[in-house]
Symmetry: C2
Subunit: 265 residues, 2 copies
């Protein structure tokens, strides 16, 4: 069966998976939960005012705030914060922007931050990654802090992962090179034996520069994320990765079941 595996992937022994937008569907879960919570608490102010808020936009801005911060931190303009602390700060800014200050108590705000600990996996995540586990090591690699990953693993029953690497141990954010290379070393593998799987093209490009294999997971709900990527000023190699997607990445897949099949599992 191994002869069916694409040439670029035959050396791979382990997969490192991005979490938000790759493993779990933050956008759908958070938009629904925020909207439901807003309805529940709408009697505290004018019902109409709160129900008219665009919770999809609120969710997207929450995520954008995180992306802008880690990019700034990686450029040494901001200190390392756990993703939980960061999500809390961004939420506080957003409730000012959305003109709903004083609507929710401190405890309710904490519960809203903890929504990130209870996201639903995409439906292909568990069956696909479980199949991959028969032949390969499956590990999460995320900027999320350990507590967030532990809660996510418990709430979504993510037993299909053999390990969960958190950037919290390095006190810096991905796509920092040291994190990728240390993960390979800790798995006792060379970079070309490790594949990063992510919906985020820029994260993959950074990993590719270090010699890791790259798998782009195309999630339908990410078509509208171009706007977000543009606001982040990633450094690009002048001679790198232009043109066709199949020159940019070692593999492009639509879901984890397809990845399992492609890797002969």
């Amino acid at each position: 069966m191994s002869s069916d595996i694409p040439d670029s992937m035959v050396e791979v022994k382990a997969f490192l998976y991005d979490v938000f937008g790759t493993i779990v569907d933050w956008r759908t879960t958070l938009t629904q939960e925020l909207s439901s919570f807003a309805t529940l608490t709408s009697t505290r102010i004018s019902n109409q005012t709160l129900l008219n808020k665009d919770w999809h936009s609120f969710t997207q801005k929450w995520r954008n705030g995180y992306k802008l911060y880690i990019n700034s931190s990686n450029s040494r303009n901001a200190p390392f914060l756990t993703v939980d602390s960061l999500n809390e700060q961004i939420l506080e800014n957003l409730i000012t922007e959305f003109d709903i200050v004083h609507l929710w108590s401190d405890e309710e705000l904490e519960n809203l931050v903890n929504l990130w600990h209870n996201l639903d996996p995409y439906k292909d995540t568990k069956p696909g990654i479980t199949r991959l586990g028969v032949k390969y090591v499956n590990a999460i690699l995320s900027n999320a802090n350990v507590k967030l990953l532990v809660d996510l693993k418990r709430s979504a029953d993510l037993n299909c992962f053999d390990y969960m690497f958190s950037a919290e141990f390095w006190k810096c954010y991905l796509p920092n090179s040291k994190v990728y290379l240390d993960c390979c070393e800790m798995l006792n593998l060379r970079p070309e034996q490790v594949a990063i799987v992510s919906h985020a093209k820029n994260d993959l490009k950074n990993a590719k520069k270090l010699g890791l294999k790259t798998v782009l997971l195309q999630r339908d709900d990410y078509e509208d994320e171009d706007e977000v990527e543009e606001i982040i000023d990633y450094e690009e190699e002048p001679n790198g990765f232009g043109g066709q997607a199949n020159h940019e990445f070692d593999l492009i897949i639509n879901d984890f079941e397809e990845l399992a099949k492609t890797m002969a599992c």
Copy 2:
């Protein structure tokens, strides 16, 4: 039910488990595997010579070598090495001591080091810790490097753990205080909300000094380990922990099923 939990343990939200001798039975598995492997390779030298070796003693000395090294390293006399590297070095010394140099190839020696990646769990480990998982966070905390823990998790099907903390991230060995306290912080818990579970009394005493709760797991096969503990010169508080076992530790248990019952799971 929570009123049945011992007073000293009511605050506990998470358990951190020692691995070798607590979760997995290194002594039985390794002694059997070494003895079988020696029989298989005995035709290379005088059959009698190899079969007469005391593989129980060989296994115990392998473990003692590890304990002596980490104690020395913690006293700043030796650099940090992964447990895999350390086990490899100690094995090389042992084959000289046991007069079996040149018997095994480099590949075979590597396979022998990897026996530590494939140990059997004690029979109460999985059912007991799975029960505890209903109410508590279960995490491994070990000096073992990440690769060793990942292999152990895969080979022994240890899905009952929510996280695996490895001292490899800190580049120092337990019972280093920083490792215990960082684990508590990463779990977003105060030290008194975290209980260490181990068969090793000295590791528990160090954790207790930091405010963590301590659970001594009495494993029958550790009755003969007093000799090992004596060779290690742990620092003791002059006024600490003397006398009755029930003053030394917050809980003493005989297996994980008993711990689950005691913690009202």
